[in-house]
Symmetry: C2
Subunit: 289 residues, 2 copies
C-alpha cells in the first residue's frame, strides 16, 4: 500500500487548489464536506462552491434544495478571479440551471482537469427533474470531462439505456459497452467504471480511455455499506491530478486512498458507515494491513 502520510510528499508553499461544485451534506459523508476532507487529507486546498442542500442523515436523502444559479456562478467566478485552480471536481449540482451555468464556467478553463461524480442518487426522488438533470449532465458536462467516476447502473441511467438491477448479467454487457462508447464518443476522456455496487469477493474497477481499456484494479470487497465511497474516489483522483500525477497513476492512487478510507470507516449515526478520510492521521493504514 502507498504511504499516505503527507510528510512523505514534497508540499509546495501553497497547496494546489481544487474547486469543487457540490451540495452541502451535514453528515459530511457525501457532498462538499466529504470532498473538503478528502482533498485536505491528500494535501490540497479545497475551494467548495455550494450548489444545493441535501437534507439527509446517514441512511438516506430526504429532500434536496437547489441554490440559485446566480449564487453558484457568483461564488465560482469570484474564486476563479482570485485563486489559481489546479483542477475541478463536480458532484451534485442541484438543478438543470446550475448545470448549464457551471458548464459555461468550465468551458472557460478547457486546460484544467475536470473530475465528475454524477451523484445521481441525489436525483432519486426528484422524478422528472432528476431525469432532466441527468440529461443536462450528459449533454453539457460530460463533453468537457477528463475523468468520469461511476458504477454500471449510474452509467446506464446517464445515457438512458436499460440496465438490470440485479447481478451483473452477461447478456447486458453489450448495453454497458454501448453506454461506455456513447460517453467516450461524446468527448469524455476517461471513465472509471467502479464495481462497488456489484457482487463477488472483489471490487473490480476499470479505467477506460479513448483508446480502450487503460487499467483494471481489483480490491478485496469490504463488508458493510458506505456513504460517500464514490465521491471519495473522485475527489482523491482530483487531488492526485492536482499534484501533477498522470491520469492512470492518479486513478491508482485514488483507489488506494479510498480502499484504506473504507477499511477504516466508522458509523457516527444509525445508518451507513462513512469512509475515514483521515485514516492515516489516526495511526491506521499501512501499520495494520
Amino acid at each position: 500500500m502507498a504511504d499516505f502520510s503527507l510528510m512523505a510528499i514534497d508540499i509546495p508553499a501553497t497547496p494546489p487548489a481544487v474547486l469543487c461544485f457540490g451540495a452541502g451534506d451535514a453528515t459530511a459523508g457525501s457532498g462538499l464536506a466529504a470532498d473538503i476532507l478528502t482533498l485536505a487529507s491528500m494535501g490540497c486546498h479545497p475551494l467548495p462552491v455550494h450548489t444545493a442542500v441535501l437534507l439527509r442523515d446517514t441512511r438516506s436523502v430526504d429532500e434536496v434544495w437547489a441554490q440559485d444559479a446566480e449564487i453558484v456562478v457568483a461564488q465560482a467566478r469570484t474564486i476563479l478571479e482570485d485563486i489559481p485552480v489546479a483542477a475541478f471536481k463536480l458532484g451534485f449540482c442541484g438543478s438543470v440551471e446550475n448545470l448549464a451555468a457551471i458548464a459555461e464556467i468550465l468551458s472557460d478553463y478547457p486546460d484544467l482537469a475536470l473530475i465528475v461524480e454524477p451523484a445521481l442518487y441525489a436525483c432519486g426522488d426528484l422524478g422528472e427533474a432528476g431525469e432532466e438533470m441527468s440529461a443536462a449532465l450528459a449533454d453539457l458536462i460530460l463533453p468537457q470531462t477528463t475523468l468520469l467516476v461511476l458504477g454500471r447502473h449510474e452509467l446506464c441511467r446517464l445515457v438512458g439505456v436499460a440496465c438490470s438491477d440485479g447481478e451483473h448479467d452477461e447478456t447486458e454487457l453489450p448495453a454497458v459497452d454501448d453506454a461506455l462508447a456513447q460517453v467516450l464518443a461524446g468527448g469524455t476522456e476517461y471513465i472509471l467504471l467502479t464495481g462497488g455496487s456489484e457482487h463477488g469477493p472483489q471490487v473490480v474497477n476499470s479505467l477506460i480511455g479513448q483508446a480502450g481499456s487503460v487499467r483494471t484494479d481489483a480490491w478485496p470487497r469490504l463488508g458493510g455499506r458506505f456513504l460517500g465511497a464514490g465521491t471519495t474516489l473522485a475527489a482523491a483522483a482530483a487531488a492526485a491530478l492536482a499534484h501533477g500525477m498522470d491520469l492512470p497513476e492518479a486513478v491508482r492512487e485514488a483507489q488506494e486512498f479510498t480502499q484504506q478510507a473504507l477499511r477504516h470507516a466508522y458509523r457516527p449515526g444509525m445508518g451507513l458507515a462513512l469512509p475515514d478520510r483521515f485514516f492515516w492521521a489516526r495511526g491506521k493504514g499501512d501499520a495494520d494491513e
Copy 2:
C-alpha cells in the same frame, strides 16, 4: 509546543462529532469549510449545517445570502436525531430568523458545550440587518453560550457600547470591562477575549469566566494579515472540548493549534493569508520552531 499529530491522541472508534452552524465560504478561509478543516485536523468528525453563502474572495466579503430558516432547522434536526453530538460551534448564521430557530434547537441540548464565534465581520455591509443580527445573537445565543471567542471591537459591537477604532486606549478599559460584565451577567460562561486585532509585539488572549480572569496567554505577534484566525481558534476549542478536555485546557490547546496554523499560513490568492490547519501533516510545526 504541543504535539498535534493525531497519532499521539487515543482516538476512539468513532471520532467525537461537532455540529457547526455556519456559512459557505468558497475560499475555505472562514465559514464551514474552515471549521471542517480545523475539526478534522484535531481528530473530530464535523457536522456542517449550512446557514448562508458568503460571497467572498481572500480579500473581502462582497455579499451574503441567508439560507431559509426552515432549511437550517431541517438540516440540524435530521442530524441530531441520527448522530450523537459532542459539542456545538456557531459562526455566521445569516439572518435573525436563523438565529432564532437555532437558539430554539440549542435550548434542547443544554448539557452540550456551545462555542460561539460571532463573525460580525460578515454583517459589515448589512446595515440595519447586521445590527439586528448582532442584537439577536446577544439576546438569544449568548445566554446559552459556553465559550464566546472574540476581539475587543466585536465585543463592544455585540453589546452596543462605544469602542475606539484605534490603539487600545486606557481610558476605554471601563467600557470593555462593562461589556464583559454584561455578557457574563447574561449567562455566557466564559469569554476568550483575543488580542489579534490589537497592536504590540505580543498577542494577549484573556479567558474570563463567571469568577473573573481564568488565564492569560501571550503569543508572538506574527507578520501579515489572516483570514479565519478567529474561527480557527473557536473551532479548535470546540474540538478540544469534544475530546473531553476541561475548558481552560481546551482554550490553551486551541491557542497553540491556532498559533501554529497562522505561523504556517499560505496565500492561495491575492488577498489575505489562510491559516494552514494541516501544518502538522505537512511536516511543519514542532520541527521548525
